[in-house]
């Protein structure tokens, strides 16, 4: 067991947590939050893979690190757009749920 594997296991668990929250939590804001957790779990796996590829005097393979940096920025963009949509929905309807009248259809 080393640090990379340890955080790899953390990443795997975080993906599970995030997925669970994203699918089961009915509130959009919590879904957005869970998406961020899920994303960070995926990034952590990239980080573990990078660490495993330490070579040539580097502590970690730089290519997956660059993927993660790009990924974090994309995830932030997604969060900003989703939050803006949610707040607009709240303003327009006074609610923040994904299902309007079709609640039954939604929770199928």
């Amino acid at each position: 067991m080393n640090a990379a594997m340890l955080f790899g296991l953390c990443g795997a668990a975080l993906v599970g947590f995030g997925l669970f929250g994203l699918v089961t939590n009915p509130q959009p804001l919590r879904k957005i939050l869970a998406f961020n957790l899920l994303g960070s779990g995926v990034f952590l796996l990239f980080g573990v893979i990078a660490r495993r590829g330490a070579a040539a005097g580097l502590g970690a393979d730089p290519v997956p690190q660059a993927f993660v940096i790009t990924g974090i920025v994309v995830a932030f963009s997604a969060t900003a757009l989703a939050v803006a949509l949610l707040l607009r929905l709240f303003e327009a309807t006074g609610q923040a749920t994904l299902s309007a009248d079709d609640a039954e259809e939604d929770s199928r």
Binding site: A12, V15, F17, T24, A34, A50, V73, A84, S107
Partner: protein
């Protein structure tokens, strides 16, 4: 067991506990705060994985600006907390089992690494001198895979446009609806006066050292963005209307310069996004500096939200 490993185990357990809290907490507000704490812990984990560039990005953007966005949204939505109907227990159990299976599969993939570990680190280091950079991560972002970075800038811009597009027609070109402190708060104003000079210096420094050490335009840009947001929230400066030409210019200047230098590569280096031999570093620094400005403005505006009024308050 070494001290380092004990620390890592503690950190891992803490990470999972806080993440679990963020998923399971009853109140959205508490969950958001848990998420911010989680982000900071995660940044430490990134340092432990020898990925300092990522740690800085995670702390600045992943936890910092994202956390701020989520927190302000949670504050606005606080009034309608229990509105949504929770999913049924059988569904939750089924989803839980499948998520656990996915986690186990991933854990297995991590615990049993391939016999041959592939890595691009030697290749990235071998060509790094050609670019004049010292930080291999910057090398990947701006030399080897700069198309990814360029397209990602386009993603950031589109997100901003998407946020703006949510404005009612009559407020188009108006002022974003950032929540500004209603009463002028002396303490906050003091803070917003004293911190930005320091923060701006740190942000510029981060970008500048990014060529050779951990840091770069993203992280530096995020720090600048936060300083700007602080000044706006304290009410020291007005939130600028999104219709103004200079603002639009600042938003696109980085990607435009990036694209222009990329196209110049056709003529100068024989390839799109190639740099002429020997002059790579100055070009990259020009790209990073302009990108930092654009990233700072874009992140700040993303946090400020869609336009909600025409006249200043």
């Amino acid at each position: 067991m070494t001290v380092a490993l004990a620390f890592d185990i503690g950190l891992g357990i803490l990470l999972l506990a806080v993440a679990g809290w963020a998923v399971a907490a009853c109140s959205t507000y508490a969950a958001t705060i848990a998420f911010i704490v989680y982000g900071l812990l995660l940044a430490i984990a990134w340092v432990r994985l020898f990925a300092v560039d990522v740690a800085l990005t995670e702390a600045a953007i992943g936890s910092g600006v994202t956390g701020m966005l989520l927190l302000s949204a949670a504050a606005r939505l606080r009034v309608i907390e229990p509105a949504a109907v929770a999913a049924g227990t059988p569904l939750r159990i089924a989803v839980g089992i499948s998520c656990a299976l996915i986690s186990v599969a991933l854990a297995a993939a991590i615990l049993f690494p391939p016999d041959v570990v592939f890595t691009l680190a030697p290749a990235a280091m071998a060509h790094l001198p050609e670019s004049g950079l010292g930080n291999p991560v910057a090398g990947v972002l701006f030399v080897y895979r700069s198309l990814d970075t360029l397209l990602e800038k386009a993603v950031l811009l589109l997100a901003l446009l998407g946020v703006w597009s949510l404005a009612p027609d009559r407020f188009w070109g108006g002022i974003p609806g950032l929540q500004v402190y209603r009463q002028r708060n002396a303490i906050l104003i003091f803070f917003a006066q004293i911190l930005p000079p320091l923060g701006i210096m740190v942000g510029i420094y981060m970008t500048w050292v990014g060529a050779d050490h951990p840091g770069g335009a993203f992280q530096g840009g995020a720090v600048l963005a936060v300083m700007w947001i602080l000044v706006m929230i304290a009410g020291l400066r007005d939130v600028p209307p999104i219709g103004q030409r200079w603002m639009r210019l600042l938003v696109v200047v980085g990607p435009v310069v990036f694209l222009a230098i990329g196209l110049a590569g056709f003529a100068l280096a024989g390839a799109f996004l190639g740099y002429p031999a020997g002059y790579a570093k100055p070009f990259i620094i020009v790209i990073e500096v302009t990108l930092q400005i654009s990233i700072a403005v874009t992140l700040g505006l993303l946090a400020a939200g869609p336009p909600e009024r025409i006249q200043p308050q």
